[in-house]
């Protein structure tokens, strides 16, 4: 009997060691399993829905979310919050199109550059408020959100632009492959490249590690010689630029420009990042997790459509998923806080 107990306990030990090794720093494996389980449930409940087109839809609806999520991820890792990115995104996208129309010029690549520059400029607003005036990041970005959106609609334009300049529109019609009935747009490539680049910056560069350090503990970061202000300024500038790019992706993919879009979708993006393991108290989060978070949110939304759930319930269900995801991540973060991280690493490595 005692051996049986010992056996089961060693098995459990081994299992938990195995789990700890493969769980991923931000519960990425949990997320992956959750995604697979959801797909599995879909396959049982509504087998006809699991088509290539279904996955194509997920990619298509996830691509803008991911583009917007990247900048937010940096900010959340640094211990901040940003709700201004949708305003920055739609400002950059819409203003660029308006600029192209009024100048009568056309192009395929440079509009993206212009949008990124606008995003950078608007991001500097946040940078000043957060780095110099030490404003609570949520409050600061809430303020810039309404300012930016107000300026856009009051001064730049409030009309729906249904036809984009021809060359730019052609980008929106270019697909690299077809999944089922869904076209996968060429813009997937730059977004994934940016995601890869951000992952590299976060893991391998001084700047990236400084973001984690600031998010972990500002005081400690300062003491090891990191200029918190400089890093914060850089974060908000880059996040603004990424939001600008995301806005342009949105406009090109939807093939029209309306100043009333994107703002209001911030919860989905924030949810994707947070479910992906980034914690708003800072110091945690990864590009991998964020991608999985984006896929999960996009999967839930598309599944609800395919399952024929009344659209009136979508907001509610997505809210529940967000709450559950956030709560799970918060619990697991609280649990890891209590354990000594280094010992765990050594143990896993041994």
């Amino acid at each position: 009997m005692s051996t049986a107990v010992a056996d089961s306990s060693t098995v459990r030990d081994r299992m938990s060691a195995l789990w700890r090794r493969y769980r991923g720093e931000n519960n990425e494996t949990t997320l992956l399993l959750l995604i697979l389980a959801l797909v599995g449930v879909m396959a049982i409940v509504e087998p006809s829905a699991i088509t290539l087109g279904f996955f194509g839809d997920i990619i298509r609806s996830g691509i803008v979310t991911l583009a917007l999520a990247l900048g937010l991820l940096m900010i959340i890792i640094s211990g901040g919050m940003d709700v201004s990115f949708p305003a920055i995104a739609i400002f950059a996208g819409y203003a660029t199109i308006t600029l192209m129309q009024s100048l009568g010029v056309d192009g395929a690549v440079w509009p993206f550059v212009v949008a990124v520059a606008m995003g950078l400029l608007l991001g500097s607003l946040n940078a000043v408020l957060v780095a110099r005036y030490k404003m609570e990041t949520l409050i600061a970005t809430l303020g810039t959100q309404v300012i930016i959106r107000g300026v856009l609609i009051a001064f730049i334009g409030s009309v729906y632009i249904s036809v984009l300049p021809a060359q730019l529109d052609a980008v929106g019609a270019t697909s690299i492959m077809q999944l089922g009935g869904t076209q996968v747009n060429v813009l997937v490539i730059p977004v994934l490249v940016l995601a890869g680049a951000l992952a590299w910056v976060l893991r391998r560069t001084m700047f990236g590690r400084s973001i984690y350090a600031i998010g972990g503990d500002k005081e400690s970061a300062k003491r090891v010689g990191i200029s918190v202000k400089k890093v914060q300024v850089a974060i908000y500038l880059v996040a603004g630029a990424l939001a600008g790019f995301g806005g342009m992706v949105h406009v090109v993919l939807s093939r029209h420009a309306s100043p009333f879009e994107i703002v209001g979708t911030e919860l989905n993006v924030i949810a994707a990042v947070v479910i992906g393991g980034a914690l708003d108290s800072g110091g945690r989060g990864s590009v991998r997790g964020t991608i999985l978070g984006v896929v999960l949110i996009s999967l839930v939304q598309n599944s609800l459509i395919r399952l024929g759930v009344s659209s009136y319930w979508h907001v509610f269900v997505v809210g529940l998923v967000v709450l559950a995801g956030v709560a799970i991540q918060a619990r697991s973060a609280a649990a890891t806080h209590r354990r000594t991280r280094i010992l765990e690493r050594l143990e896993t490595a041994a």
Binding site: M81, L129, R132, Y133, K134, M135, E136, L138, I139, A140, L142, G143, T144, Q145, V146, I147, R149, G150, V151, I153, A154, E219, L267, I270, A271, V274, L279, D280, S281, S310, Y312, W313, H314, V315, F316, V317, V318, G319, L320, V322, L323, V326, A327, A330, R331, A334
Partner: protein, 369 residues
């Protein structure tokens, strides 16, 4: 590391000054807000006296202050416990929808207007309390950051309202509520009297009761509060229940005033309410009670809104102004403090440059054995 050799009289005077400043700071801030309200009112009156100072306009301002003022009050309390409540508008809408729905149901069931009004209002308050308790539970027990927790519950409450109403608006309230929303007493709308009453009660709760003190302490320092022995999550849950109930009261005013309710009503109020709470003197990092300030700030913002409306600028300009005020409060406070510090340093002839920095906020005195 503090210099203990300052002359005793100077030290005493400094201590007395700081004590005096501490005691009057809030009142000084409130007085400042009152002055700001006067300035705004005078400026817009000068622009167009016959319109802005007309009885009609003053009355419309008095009618519009309470609903957003109550939401700001709710957010201000959440900020006192170092949180925020983004679900305020959603809870208000949910409560308002219940009242509108029950007004029709109660009438259909043959209940008298008084009875159905009481049930409708009680139901709305229960909704507010439950919604707030859920927020408090998620924040204190599940340890989700207030921003994320209430962002998610905002979505859930709004989603519930959309799902239950299929996105349609509900119309009509009972006769007493309609009278409450439109009528006035001594020339002042009932809803404004009600707002003043709620402000006084909440102010008393937050400044005169043990709960208020605990909430303030918890907001000032969670760690310190944990050493005092009272239940952290108990305080947080109660604070958010209070927040939820006030949000429900905002819903009550909303539905009484407009005789309609919908899931998407007042979505721009959230930003406005946060602006008012911050302008009113609440500190998003917690530990400061600013109830009267929030009430005064609500009046200031409505004075501005009405004035901008009068000079006929776009609603988006008003939003820009809101954002600018929100950022401006912080910028002005920051620059003012810097200026004061510089003046103070010059006056007290500082321990010359190169002197050690003030001790860091976190001091580890002993290494664990």
């Amino acid at each position: 590391m503090t210099d203990m050799k300052t002359s005793s009289t100077a030290g005493l005077r400094a201590r007395a000054t700081s004590l005096w400043q501490g005691a009057t700071r809030h009142h000084a801030y409130d007085l400042g807000l009152l002055a700001l309200a006067l300035v705004v009112a005078v400026v817009f009156t000068l622009i167009n006296p016959s319109v802005y100072a007309s009885q009609l306009n003053v009355e419309s301002i008095a009618f519009s202050v309470p609903e957003v003022g109550l939401m700001a009050l709710a957010i201000s309390i959440a900020m006192t416990v170092a949180g925020i409540d983004l679900s305020t508008v959603a809870v208000a809408n949910l409560s308002a929808l219940f009242i509108a729905w029950y007004s029709a149901v109660g009438e259909a069931a043959g209940q008298g207007p008084i009875v159905s009004t009481l049930i409708a209002v009680a139901g709305a308050l229960v909704i507010g309390a439950v919604a707030g308790a859920v927020n408090g539970f998620v924040i204190s027990r599940l340890k989700v950051a207030p921003i994320l927790a209430t962002l998610a519950t905002m979505q859930i409450y709004t989603g519930l309202a959309i799902a239950l109403t299929r996105g349609e608006a509900a119309y009509g309230v009972t006769a007493p509520l309609s009278e409450f929303g439109m009528g006035d007493l001594l020339g002042v709308p009932y809803v404004f009297w009600f707002f003043v009453l709620v402000v006084v009660v909440v102010w008393a709760i937050m400044t005169k009761t043990t709960f208020g003190l605990k909430a303030t302490l918890t907001g000032a320092s969670k760690v310190v509060s944990e050493f005092t022995g009272y239940s952290y999550s108990g305080v947080i849950v109660r604070a958010y229940v209070l927040t939820g109930v006030i949000s429900a009261l905002a819903g009550l005013v909303m539905v009484s005033r407009t005789a309609s309710a919908s899931a998407g009503y007042g979505s721009s109020y959230l930003m406005l309410a946060i602006t008012i709470a911050v302008l009113g003197g609440a500190n998003p990092f917690g530990g400061r009670v600013a109830i009267t300030g929030a009430a005064l700030a609500a009046v200031v913002l409505q004075l501005i809104s009405s004035g901008l409306n009068m000079v006929d600028v776009s609603a988006y300009i008003y939003q820009i102004v809101q954002g600018a005020i929100l950022a401006g409060v912080f910028v002005v406070t920051f620059e003012r403090q810097r200026l004061l510090q510089r003046l103070a340093r010059r006056r007290t002839a500082p321990p010359e440059p190169g002197a050690p920095q003030p001790a860091p906020s976190v001091v580890r005195e002993k290494e664990p054995a």
